[in-house]
Symmetry: C3
Subunit: 212 residues, 3 copies
């Protein structure tokens, strides 16, 4: 089970690093900027998680594997043959960003819940859910703020909502089916919800304002 | 006295959550985005405060009341009947943002000072004042950065200045009239200074540059 | 040696505070906004460093000298006679920003490494290097994000790259020539690399995209 969780964390890191590197390329950054944006996205959620739960120094700085994986991923994305393939057509790029960002969101949401369970006395459902959502969304919010974009979380339908629903599922199942199953189901439901939302153009009500 | 302080903290949270939710509606976010921006503004200053003074995990994650209050406030602001009333005319909207932002600024500034006194060995006047200002301004700065605006603190006359003056008043009175009175007077003076500054168009000197 | 390091830290703080204050003036902020941006840039890297390595509360809040130096520096930069001289011509302004930003980058990069050595069990080369880079770049990234600019780090050639190379030099020399010499050489090499990169227009490969 530990192995599966480790594998999923690496997968979430790779997914977020790809989303960061792709955005960096789109913003015409050089290879170093692309790597930094990939790195920030890949490990940013985990650093925010550790600052919140009080892991000092953050785990990323104790065990370099996530950091190294983020940078290697970013450099691979930057390779001409890869990036040409990614940017071949806009729809493919959009789909890729959606998929990888969703996977990272799902994995880091349940990872934040697990860390909060292990490292703190935070065991109330509302609070666990929020640590999960912040861990899941943190890397992407940092990515967008550093690249100068309005955070994705406010623009794309059903982003933090999916994270929150999956977090609640994970927490409610935690003591019933074991933490491993709860995390897998929670993360999967986040990815599925995000993809369904994108496919079916789900959206939440927006305010219509008279002026401006 | 504890009851009064708790009431004021809830009031500051509500005030900041309103300012965040109103900005989210103005930026045409959906109900979830509006809630997140309201939540970030409502509890952001307190989280920054706790990261600085070393409360791990931040109190917001230990006691969910501020978090829940922020979200409920944001949802109420989003209700069509409420938001239509808020956005009826621009001047009313401006006045509302000013008032609630000032109340939040005042309350969180003195709250930051109190937390620094209690949780750390930071008792020098300059340092207490800065923890107060950072706690007071932090939620609003996060709000504006996440919404993609230049932080209010740099644009609106007499924002951090009011926070700093009120913080100094609070600290100087702390041992003379007791912390409760010092906090009430400090917070009140911040709100009054901000409103006077807005009414009378006080402003600090700006540099006039030749080029650009 | 402690005296030299303290002198260098003050110099880095002054350099970053100048870069923040100059950007604030350019953005037409008032004297308070200019001071806040100078302060954020001057002490921001150190606060991020302390959050990462777990110094609670951050040293800036325990020893006010850096904070006071940042504010005094910002106010001096704001003085009409000084700012007129700084903004006399654009090339002079550009050169000044480059020089002071480079000095701050160099000093805070090696300072981050030293703090990580002293305060944590982080002694792996990759990790020490990243704490150094984050400490060095953090103040400038905060400055640019608060001023509403795309972070300098992504735009200017050879920014974080210089920080990383200097960090690696510093770490590799640490046990060979002593930490004092390693820090001086590391910081100097960062400044020299940045200035050479600017003079010779070094740049790293960028992706060329078909669309947009």
């Amino acid at each position: 089970m530990e192995d599966i969780l480790f594998f999923l964390e690496i997968m979430g890191t790779v997914a977020f690093a790809i989303s960061g590197a792709v955005l960096g390329i789109r913003k015409r950054m050089d290879i170093f900027g692309v790597s930094i944006l990939g790195l920030t996205t890949g490990v940013g959620g985990g650093i925010i998680r550790d600052l919140i739960v009080g892991n000092n120094p953050p785990l990323t700085f104790q065990d370099p594997v996530y950091l190294v994986v983020s940078i290697i991923t970013s450099i691979i994305v930057f390779l001409p043959v890869i990036r040409t393939w990614i940017f071949r057509e806009t729809r493919f790029y959009e789909a890729l960003m959606l998929l990888f960002d969703s996977i990272g969101l799902g994995i880091f949401t349940v990872n934040g819940i697990q860390t909060a369970y292990q490292s703190t006395n935070i065991h109330g459902i509302i609070l666990l859910a929020f640590v999960g959502v912040i861990t899941g969304c943190g890397g992407g919010v940092l990515r967008d703020m550093m690249a100068g974009d309005r955070p994705y979380i406010f623009v794309k339908h059903f982003y933090a909502s999916a994270s929150l629903l999956g977090a609640l599922a994970c927490i409610l199942l935690w003591n019933r089916i074991g933490y491993g199953g709860a995390m897998l189901l929670g993360a999967t439901s986040i990815v599925v919800l995000r993809l369904l939302a994108a496919r079916n153009h789900w959206s939440l009500p927006k305010a219509d304002l008279p002026e401006e």
